[in-house]
Point group: C3
Amino acid sequence: MPANSWTRHHILSLADFTNCEYDTVLRTAASFQEVLSRRTKKVPTLQGQVVANLFFEPSTRTRSSFELAAKRLSADTLNFTSATSSITKGETILDTAKTYLAMGTDIMVIRHREAGVPSAIASEMDRLGVKVSVLNAGDGQHEHPSQALLDLFTLCTLLDPAHPRLELLKDKKIAIVGDILHSRVARSNIWSLTATGAEVHLAAPPTLLPKLFADYGKNRPGKLFLHWQLEPALENADFVMTLRLQKERMSANLLPSGREYHRLFGITRSRLQRLCKPHVKVLHPGPVNRGVEISSDLMDDPEFSLIQTQVTSGVAVRMALLYLIGSGKTA
Amino acid sequence: MPANSWTRHHILSLADFTNCEYDTVLRTAASFQEVLSRRTKKVPTLQGQVVANLFFEPSTRTRSSFELAAKRLSADTLNFTSATSSITKGETILDTAKTYLAMGTDIMVIRHREAGVPSAIASEMDRLGVKVSVLNAGDGQHEHPSQALLDLFTLCTLLDPAHPRLELLKDKKIAIVGDILHSRVARSNIWSLTATGAEVHLAAPPTLLPKLFADYGKNRPGKLFLHWQLEPALENADFVMTLRLQKERMSANLLPSGREYHRLFGITRSRLQRLCKPHVKVLHPGPVNRGVEISSDLMDDPEFSLIQTQVTSGVAVRMALLYLIGSGKTA
Amino acid sequence: MPANSWTRHHILSLADFTNCEYDTVLRTAASFQEVLSRRTKKVPTLQGQVVANLFFEPSTRTRSSFELAAKRLSADTLNFTSATSSITKGETILDTAKTYLAMGTDIMVIRHREAGVPSAIASEMDRLGVKVSVLNAGDGQHEHPSQALLDLFTLCTLLDPAHPRLELLKDKKIAIVGDILHSRVARSNIWSLTATGAEVHLAAPPTLLPKLFADYGKNRPGKLFLHWQLEPALENADFVMTLRLQKERMSANLLPSGREYHRLFGITRSRLQRLCKPHVKVLHPGPVNRGVEISSDLMDDPEFSLIQTQVTSGVAVRMALLYLIGSGKTA
């Protein structure tokens, strides 16, 4: 495994990821993808290590994906969800993390409703001089690095399954459509996609895409464009990334209704065929509100939809991330 | 293991189970029962495979039994319960299943409040051309195949521990007592027991046993009888299967009170001794409402009660089922 | 491993623990502590055995600690919490335990809101003549043996890391401060610490420390003292054990407010430096109400606080307990 050059100890944000790091993640994930195609889909890499999933915000798919990735690396896993936690007993989040540290956790996978929590825990771990690694599994509206990396892996393996690499996306046109303002997935994807040299086009209603998002594109290899209508973002697009609409926000009048949203920004087969490149593909981090972000039939159409591939990529990419930050301890 | 002849890919219903299939399950479960008597109760059969327990309806014993069966076959397990799910986020059940499929699940064990959900998921998996197997762990009032198979195994191993087989129950009289109308356990048991050539006697208050249940006995090797009183069902019975009474239904006036039910249909030592064969045994799928379906002392009397044996059988039978549907992938 | 002399089958209370038993636990835990310092922190000791965590009262740290201890001994684990249980369906706690027994559980780790539940289950298991062991993980206000044993291990390893043993605490002064009346941790610690020959000083407001606690000190090697003020307990103390204050009890006016409690009984750096021995250390079973039982800065000060060490000790001590009661079955 090509991990010798890996030095990053925590994975908290993609804002400062180097191209070399992206390529190492892609290459390592590809090698694990190969492991997953074997009959026995396990490797002993992290045997005897403990991966604790500390999910202060509930999640099905991300938690299961990390849990499975850890088990396939032969790690022991501990699951913590706030429903059964000491948080209600007055313990701070940092105290909870320190407790799992003291039990012998090697890697903490942390999700929290508030931006910055995984970073704060990582800083405290570094201050304490301990070896534990922190992996941000989604913090508020800040970042969701493993989601963006699995999206990147999904796109790159589509273009070259054996050798996924950043340069494959150079000059591709990629649209990101939806509630960009509130999306940690969008922020992480903007970092990774503008690193590739792609043209990244954001499209959303004005309330969900403030002009200051243009700042994300400054001094990046790729170019970033903002649109308050769908059409210009889709025109000649190679890939369309859709984002989940939080229904809670609709009821608070921050969003139009699901039906209205779908009329203006919903991705349908006819829109793709009319506007995009012929072999355009659609992504969504899930869970999808069928008929809102994407029309229901398009979502299930393997000619256009990469949604299932994203989930599969997720296990391989998370194995790669756990391996890369965990290998310093095992190698 | 005698699995060479096994071709069934999903286990959804016992309605079309063949006698050969019943006997293969019984024989395979007996061999795992032997494994469970060893000091190290594990076999490497399903190493590297993933068994996902998708429980859209909460359950303690069935989920733990499947989880333990999977672990003893060395599979990795993922637990999903609707309390921590994306269902509330607007994702469909099918989308959840597809997500677990995409992660690399080999066998899905599915429980749902509504009849037909496991079958619908299995059909979709077949339509997609994927290898994943679906095991129905209880769907609404439809079926609960693994419960009926463990009941069958419990009865047959009692009669011949080394060679449990269907023909052992030929001409036995078996009573099924309780809320038959609403019971998926009863329906699955009617299929399996009428396959054996046994006489199956259903007994319940008229509101809980409509006449159309007689149709289940048509063209079956065994005979099916309906009774709206307890006594004729118990007379000369070899085995008495009791069913759980849902207290929610009592409050809705669909059932008499627990006390009234017990007076009319409750199984007590004196009733067994007065009416049944001398060595009669009582079964219950659990959890029992003590003093309602069965008198509390009878439940704890190993001379009459097979309830603990049923739980033990459950692990061996579920190991057999996971092995049989999983072995096509490993062999 | 020095387990040949171990005969205790259940661990329910420390009231009748012998000095030989304490020393065996300390010695065994020290050997597992060594295992935990290796790169691969697992041993195959309990492979193929099943440890079921039956938590009828929610807990994060204790459940995770037992789960990790079991996994590091290579046992399979099952987690049961009352939220997803049959208890609501009318099943008794004993029926739940018997179900897990029948599934093949080897060791049951039981926590319950009511005192005596683990003992009642253990008695029933013995009456049934089965080999399953019961480990009390906290029962009401009665006992929490594994917590007191990890506290003991923490103190003894501080004094002699290689050879922790009971006699190291002889003539030490140990203060236990807080809501002693309602604390199972306090009761178990009183048993273990008075076994060592230490001077044990209890300090609490009068409502939380009835005089009858003096009875715990009768006929014990160590001496037990009661104080209704903090100062005399802290004077020349070698160790200060603090207890968690249940905020629920404050609102019921059984306790003063958190602020008032902290003023009278809170442990601060200045109080320690003014009153205790120079190298005094502070313990707390967690989770801590920062600024109530202990000042926030003191809690994080490794010069004084043993709180993280306690958590680490917890895994080693629980491995030792599971090993000692489980080894009869594997050896």
